[in-house]
Symmetry: C2
DNA sequence: GCAGGGGATGGTATAGTGTTGCGTAAATAG
DNA sequence: CTATTTACGCAACACTATACCATCCCCTGC
């Protein structure tokens, strides 16, 4: 199978099974059900470190013989988002697995436009800067969308400045 | 007419005409044409400090007797974005006028979920924090999407903590 | 004035993304 | 085993965005 590895090398089989284990555990604790469908979709998302669109997921499900229509996918994604297991990337209309589902995380995403990999940062310093600015404005934050598109280190090295990276 | 004022009080008629003047001037300098349609759409967007969806704009245009189809609106929005005169808010699929079109600006947007007003910040300190983090990751930034949803000061005062604001 | 060229606009069709509503099935509770 | 809740299948629809082609307008050179 041809999935993308993230530019930070790691044991991908482990990373997927670890994520699934953690998801099971989190749902257990929360008293929610990680059903077969939910697990299947979460695993699909983790298999690809790339963001997957809802209709990408739909296509894969149907390939795998599971009959599904859009609402099935969106409902499941809603659940997974609610549990903090996946994030939606607004600038891509796509979804990625959350790497720190136990912590609360105002995700900050580094999106490589060449290899499509997404790295989620915790980025406390950014969060602090944001909270300082919004505080100064008297603005009460509910949710922060921070998505940074560019080129990852691996791709910068790979094409030696070819695509604007230097 | 029923447009929303931003929560920072200001002379709205001025703010719109100023924005239009600056737009004309910028296009003049750049050697591009701020045609009647482009000016009309830019003004529509400025009239409302709320983000307007492309189809909102389309509806208003048609109300105003100008026949338009989606591509007309999107083309015009592309132009205005290219000139830095409007920004697209990814988390809303909507567009707002840029308050500082002359400066380069990695827009940071405070979006009030009650009154729908959007305030664009320059937020140098946030930009610095982001650039520091991405630098540490060896990530080359092309574009930053920073959209903060919450409650603006005016709405916090208005409903005295009713909606989670305190 | 007249032809040519490039940017801007009109218009149809279609692709891509997300939601509503309702009925059925499966799991949990009593 | 029945009642209740929760999840799933499915059809239809709404919203967002793009591809493609034709026409028009404006400017320039002749
Ligand atoms: Zn992995
Ligand atoms: Zn990359
Ligand atoms: Zn104004
Ligand atoms: Zn407000």
């Amino acid at each position: 199978m041809t999935h993308a590895l993230p530019y930070r090398t790691h044991n991908h089989a482990h990373c997927v099974t670890d994520a699934m284990d953690e998801a099971r555990s989190l749902c257990q604790t929360a008293g929610t059900r990680l059903t077969q469908l939910r697990a299947q979709i979460l695993e699909l998302i983790w298999q690809s470190h790339r963001p997957l669109g809802a209709y990408d997921i739909l296509a894969i499900l149907n390939d795998q013989g599971r009959k599904a229509a859009p609402p099935t996918v969106y409902r499941t994604l809603d659940f997974l988002q609610g549990m903090g297991l996946v994030h939606r990337i607004a600038s891509l209309n796509a979804f990625v697995g959350c790497s720190q589902p136990s912590h609360n995380h105002n995700g900050c995403f580094l999106i490589c436009e060449e290899c499509q990999n997404v790295l989620e940062l915790s980025a406390d310093s950014i969060r602090q800067a944001i909270s300082k600015e919004t505080g100064a404005q008297g603005f009460k934050v509910r949710e922060t969308t921070l998505e940074i598109a560019g080129t990852c280190p691996a791709c910068i090295n790979k094409d030696g400045g070819k695509n604007g990276a230097q």
